[in-house]
């Protein structure tokens, strides 16, 4: 059954194949969720065992207490390398649990990824999984473990001098940051994207109702396409251009992430019209670049005329048109 599912390619060209494709997505998603839950349980078991049998019996004597309270680490009486091992276990397990929960939340399954990759490749672009949090976590924690190892082997120790206290406090803050930063990164920067050009990309999110057991509608497999940041929501000129382009291309005017202070283009697609909707949002980005950048250049030109370093190049490159003058009114 598993091998059969792997070989089948998703197809959304008629109702029956849509129905079958959704079945595949559902079973893959269920499999992925079960794997993640099993991993979380395994991690929690290891951590709890460590806490109960290794850490708690020496609770008052652990190196962490000494490190945080600023007492001399050389007087601790727990097993060697306890600081390094405890931190390694603690940070890795927390990061992995959050990472796995986020993976469960992402509904992209292997076959769906293959489908979108194929569609994107046909337009000449590449669908990529950008998971930078793992790299960040490894780099930050390697440094922590390196220092902790030196503390454990007593190659490095703290005393009561000003520099030593400063270093200890900074290191404690660094330890906290080395776990919180990658976790924040998981939620903000880990995503599936299609790179269009330098600094221009389209982010993809899958929306699919997979929880109901019966009466599911195959048409409800939706892909939300969101562009990169365009400009601040408080930039009136940018807001005007954004609204005009969204209106012209029938893009969603209200951003789902209303908390974000930036403007984005957003488009909704289903697997069957993914390519067309992607072309639509990318053309919107191209129009944005042409209109907004030339508008900015015009502003630079206007400002530069007030100063000695006035640049004739800008006005030659982008002669002012009537539309650009409309945006000027909003500046």
């Amino acid at each position: 059954m598993r091998n059969t599912l792997k070989r089948i390619e998703l197809n959304f060209e008629n109702e029956q194949s849509m129905f079958d494709s959704l079945k595949i997505i559902r079973s893959e998603y269920r499999e992925k969720t079960l794997k993640s839950i099993a991993c979380i349980i395994a991690i929690l078991t290891v951590v709890l065992n460590y806490l109960i049998f290794v850490y708690l019996p020496y609770l008052n004597n652990t190196s962490f207490n000494f490190l945080i309270s600023g007492m001399n680490l050389s007087i601790r009486k727990i097993f060697p390398l306890d600081l390094t091992l405890s931190w390694l276990l603690f940070s890795t397990s927390i990061f992995l649990i959050v990472y796995l929960i986020k993976t469960m939340y992402l509904k992209f399954t292997p076959s769906m990824i293959r489908y979108i990759k194929r569609e994107t490749k046909h337009i000449g672009f590449e669908f990529k999984k950008r998971f930078e949090s793992v790299g960040l976590f490894i780099i930050l924690n390697l440094v922590s473990i390196f220092i902790l190892f030196y503390l454990d082997t007593k190659a490095l120790h703290f005393d009561n001098t000003y520099l030593s206290i400063l270093f200890r406090n900074t290191f404690v803050i660094y330890l906290i940051m080395s776990i919180t930063l990658p976790i924040v990164w998981i939620f903000i920067n880990d995503k599936f994207v299609i790179k269009v050009k330098e600094n221009v990309f389209v982010q993809c999110n899958l929306r699919c109702n997979l929880s109901k057991k019966e009466d599911y509608n195959p048409n409800l497999v939706g892909i939300i396409l969101t562009s990169n940041r365009l400009c601040s929501k408080f930039d009136k000129s940018g807001k005007y251009i954004h609204s005009k382009i969204s209106e012209k291309r029938w893009l969603k005017k209200k951003d789902n992430s209303s908390i974000s202070p930036y403007l984005h283009f957003q488009e909704f697609s289903v697997p069957y019209n993914f390519q067309k909707q992607f072309l639509n949002i990318t053309l919107a980005l191209s129009e944005w670049e042409n209109n907004y950048d030339s508008n900015l250049d015009l502003m630079n030109y206007y400002l530069s005329t007030s100063y000695p370093y006035y640049n004739k190049y800008m006005i030659k490159k982008y002669p002012p048109s009537e539309n650009q003058m409309i945006y000027w009114k909003f500046l």
Binding site: F12, E13, N14, E15, M18, R118, E119, H122, I123, G124, F125, V196, K197, E198, V200, N219, W250, Y272, N273, Q275, K276, Q277, L279, T282, L283, S286, E289
Partner: protein, 154 residues
């Protein structure tokens, strides 16, 4: 801003038979621009509707209408390329449906070479549809080309 059909009629008093329709100078240009806007909006609606329907029939009709502008003989692969679709099987159901409904005619020259045509004789409305699509619609292959040029720019 899109042009409303009702506003268009009202603006030039077209549905008012007491007023004489005068199209001179600027009015003529305005009149042409307003009609152009209406047709462009209509074309956009065709395009959006063709991407909402679960079958690719409407897309095939648009592709065919567009190709009639430049090609005298159109085969199924031309339509596939115009719509930038990776496999011809994706259009199988659409071609079958459109042929059965009488919107297109398919002439099977060989096993693989099938000439496709819009059936304007039985469906005269398709003539206006073709004219609008040819003038205002950008096919996915044209859009793809445009985006690729832009993405290669620095």
């Amino acid at each position: 801003m899109s042009q409303s059909y009702k506003d268009f009629l009202k603006k030039y008093n077209i549905d008012d038979f007491k007023t004489k329709l005068q199209l001179t100078g600027h009015t003529k240009i305005d009149f042409y621009n307003d009609i152009d806007k209406l047709l462009r909006t209509m074309c956009k609606i065709f395009d959006k509707l063709s991407n909402i329907a679960p079958m690719r029939g409407a897309q095939v009709l648009m592709g065919l209408a567009k190709l009639h502008e430049t090609n005298t003989i159109i085969n199924k692969t031309d339509v596939k390329n115009c719509l930038n679709i990776d496999r011809l099987e994706k259009l199988k159901y659409a071609f079958n449906y459109l042929e059965n409904a009488g919107y297109i005619s398919i002439e099977k020259k060989t096993k693989k070479f099938h000439i496709v045509k819009l059936n304007e004789e039985d469906n005269p409305d398709l003539k206006v549809f073709r004219e609008i699509v040819q003038k205002y619609w950008k096919s996915p292959s044209e859009e793809k080309e445009k985006i690729q040029k832009w993405s290669e720019e620095k």
